[in-house]
C-alpha cells in the first residue's frame, strides 16, 4: 500500500515536470500553428506511456539503485576501507584504486541505461540510415563517461584544480574537431549533454560527495562538484575518436583490397 502511494507521488511529480513541456507544445500547436495534431490519440497515448514509464523508472531507481549506490560510494571512500584497517598508514592517491575502478564501472553502466542517450542514439541511427549503430554510439559514450568520471575521482583525491582539466579537455575537443569526419561532429557535441541525467547524476554526485568528505584536506563544498563536468566533456572526445577509428579502419580495408 505504501508502495502504491509512493508510486502515485512520483507519478504526480513526473506529471508536474512534463506539464510545462506539454503546455508549450500544445499551446503553439493550437494558437500559432492553428492546426489539429495529426494522430492526436497516438500522440497522447505516447505521452502517457512516457510519463508512466519515467515514473516507474524513477521509483525503481529510488527503491533499488540509489540507496545501495550511495552506501557503496560511502564505504569505498571511507578511510577505513582505503587504508585497509592500518591506522598508521599514510594514504596517498594511489591507495584509492578501488574508487577509480568503481567510478569507471558505475559511469559505464549507468550511461548504458540512460534513457536520453538511448533517444539520441535511436535518432542518430534513423538519420544516418543505419551507418551509425545505436549500440556503437552508446558504447563510445559510455566509455567516455567512464574515463571522465574516474579521472574526476582522481582529481578530487589529488586536489588539483578543476579548470586545468577542463581547459585541456576543451583544447583536445577543438583539435579533434578539425581532424574528425565532419558528419559526426554535431552528434559528438550533443552526446556530451545527454549522458548526465536521470541515472548518472544522483549516483555520481553521491560518489563525489563521499570522496570530498572522506579524503583528508578536501572540502565537500569546494571539491564535491565537478564530476558531472567531466562526465559531459569526455563523451565528446570518445565519440569523435570512435568516428576517427571507424574511418581509419574503412580506409585500411580499402587499401588492402586494392
Amino acid at each position: 500500500m505504501t508502495w502504491l502511494l509512493d508510486f502515485l507521488s512520483v507519478l504526480l511529480l513526473t506529471v508536474r515536470d512534463v506539464l510545462p513541456i506539454a503546455v508549450v507544445i500544445f499551446g503553439f500547436q493550437i494558437f500559432v500553428l492553428r492546426r489539429p495534431i495529426a494522430n492526436m490519440r497516438r500522440v497522447l497515448t505516447g505521452f502517457a506511456y512516457v510519463i508512466f514509464g519515467l515514473a516507474l523508472f524513477l521509483q525503481g531507481l529510488e527503491q533499488a539503485l540509489f540507496p545501495i549506490g550511495r552506501l557503496m560510494a560511502e564505504q569505498l571512500t571511507s578511510i577505513d576501507f582505503v587504508a585497509a584497517g592500518d591506522l598508521l598508514k599514510v594514504v596517498t592517491w594511489g591507495d584509492y584504486y578501488w574508487v577509480y575502478l568503481f567510478a569507471f564501472a558505475i559511469g559505464f553502466s549507468t550511461t548504458i541505461a540512460e534513457p536520453s542517450l538511448l533517444a539520441v542514439a535511436l535518432k542518430a541511427r534513423e538519420v544516418s540510415g543505419g551507418a551509425i549503430s545505436a549500440w556503437g554510439l552508446r558504447l563510445a559514450v559510455a566509455l567516455g563517461v567512464a574515463i571522465g568520471i574516474s579521472l574526476g575521482a582522481f582529481r578530487i583525491v589529488s586536489g588539483l584544480p578543476l579548470h586545468y582539466f577542463i581547459i585541456v579537455g576543451y583544447i583536445v575537443v577543438v583539435v579533434q574537431t578539425f581532424v574528425t569526419p565532419k558528419i559526426i561532429v554535431p552528434l559528438a557535441y550533443d552526446s556530451g549533454g545527454v549522458t548526465t541525467s536521470t541515472v548518472t547524476v544522483p549516483l555520481v554526485a553521491a560518489l563525489g560527495l563521499g570522496l570530498a568528505e572522506n579524503v583528508p584536506g578536501r572540502s565537500a563544498l569546494l571539491d564535491g562538484f565537478g564530476l558531472i563536468a567531466f562526465a559531459s566533456l569526455f563523451p565528446i572526445m570518445a565519440v569523435m575518436l570512435y568516428a576517427q577509428v571507424a574511418e581509419f579502419l574503412v580506409k585500411r580495408k580499402k587499401r588492402q583490397s586494392e
Binding site: P20, F28, T45, F47, A119, I166, D190, G193, L221, G224
Partner: protein, 256 residues
C-alpha cells in the same frame, strides 16, 4: 464480425511483439549496473547485499519503466517534435519558430528537478562562504536567481541553435568561441562558483527535453532545403549545455 476480430487480434499481437522486444532491450541495458553492484558489494567490500527483495523489485520497475519510456517516445514525442518542426518550416515564420524555441528551452529547464537541487546546493555554498546572507530567504533568493539565469540561458541557447540550423552556419565556430568564453570567464569568476557552473551545464538537459529538442533539430534540418539532418540537425543539446556554464559564472560575478 470475424474479420473485425481478426484485425484487432493481429494489431494486438503486433503491439505485444514490439513491446516485448523493447522489454528485452531494457533488460539488457540494466545488466551492467547489476553486475557492477554485485561485484563491488560481494568481492571488494565483501558484504552481503542488503534488502535483496527491494533491490530486485526496484530493478524490475526500472526495466518496465525504461520499456514504457522508449515505447512512448517513438509513439508520441518523436512524431510531434518532428511534425511541429515541419509545420513551422512550412509556415515560414522565423519569428514564431524562435519564440517556440525559446519557450521550449526555458519551460523545460525552469522546472527541472536536478537544476532545483543544484541551485539549492549552490545557495548553501555561497551562504557558508559568507558571500550572501545565510538566512533562509537569502539562500532561496540566490537559488531562484540562479535557476532563472540557467533557464534563460537554455532558452537563448535553443534560439541560437535553431538560428544556426536555419542559416547553416558550421557548428565548430560556436563551440570554439563558447569554450574561449568559458575559459576567459573562469579566470575572473569567484572560485566557489566554478565547480557548480561547470556541473550546471550537464544537469540542464533532462530526459524529456532531449528527445523533443533532438526531434525538433532533425525535423527542421530535414524540411529545409539544402540542410543535412546529420550535419545540421544535431547540436542543439550542445548549445543547451554550454550556455549555462557561462551564465552561472556571470551570475556569480555579479552577485558575489
Amino acid at each position: 464480425m470475424r474479420q473485425v476480430f481478426d484485425v484487432y487480434w493481429f494489431r494486438m499481437v503486433k503491439a505485444l511483439r514490439a513491446f516485448s522486444r523493447t522489454l528485452l532491450g531494457s533488460l539488457r541495458d540494466m545488466v551492467p549496473i547489476i553486475l557492477v553492484i554485485a561485484f563491488f558489494q560481494l568481492f571488494v567490500l565483501q558484504q552481503p547485499i542488503p534488502d535483496l527483495f527491494n533491490l530486485l523489485s526496484g530493478t524490475l520497475l526500472v526495466v518496465l519503466g525504461l520499456t514504457f519510456f522508449v515505447y512512448g517516445l517513438e509513439m508520441g514525442l518523436f512524431p510531434i517534435g518532428e511534425s511541429m518542426a515541419h509545420a513551422f518550416a512550412k509556415k515560414g515564420s522565423v519569428f514564431w519558430l524562435l519564440v517556440f524555441a525559446f519557450c521550449l528551452g526555458f519551460g523545460t529547464t525552469v522546472a527541472e528537478p536536478a537544476l532545483i537541487a543544484v541551485a539549492r546546493e549552490a545557495g548553501e555554498v555561497a551562504a557558508d562562504g559568507g558571500l550572501i546572507s545565510a538566512s533562509e530567504s537569502g539562500i532561496a533568493e540566490y537559488a531562484f536567481g540562479l535557476r532563472m539565469s540557467v533557464a534563460l540561458s537554455v532558452g537563448l541557447a535553443i534560439v541560437l541553435g535553431v538560428l544556426r540550423i536555419l542559416k547553416g552556419w558550421p557548428i565548430h565556430w560556436f563551440i570554439i568561441s563558447g569554450y574561449l568564453l568559458v575559459v576567459l570567464i573562469t579566470m575572473v569568476a569567484p572560485k566557489s562558483i566554478i565547480g557548480i557552473a561547470y556541473d550546471s551545464g550537464g544537469v540542464t538537459t533532462s530526459t524529456m527535453t532531449v528527445p523533443l529538442v533532438t526531434a525538433l533539430g532533425v525535423g527542421l534540418a530535414s524540411s529545409i532545403k539544402g540542410r543535412n539532418p546529420m550535419l545540421d540537425g544535431f547540436g542543439l543539446i550542445m548549445f543547451a549545455s554550454l550556455t549555462p556554464i557561462i551564465f552561472v559564472m556571470l551570475y556569480g560575478i555579479v552577485m558575489l
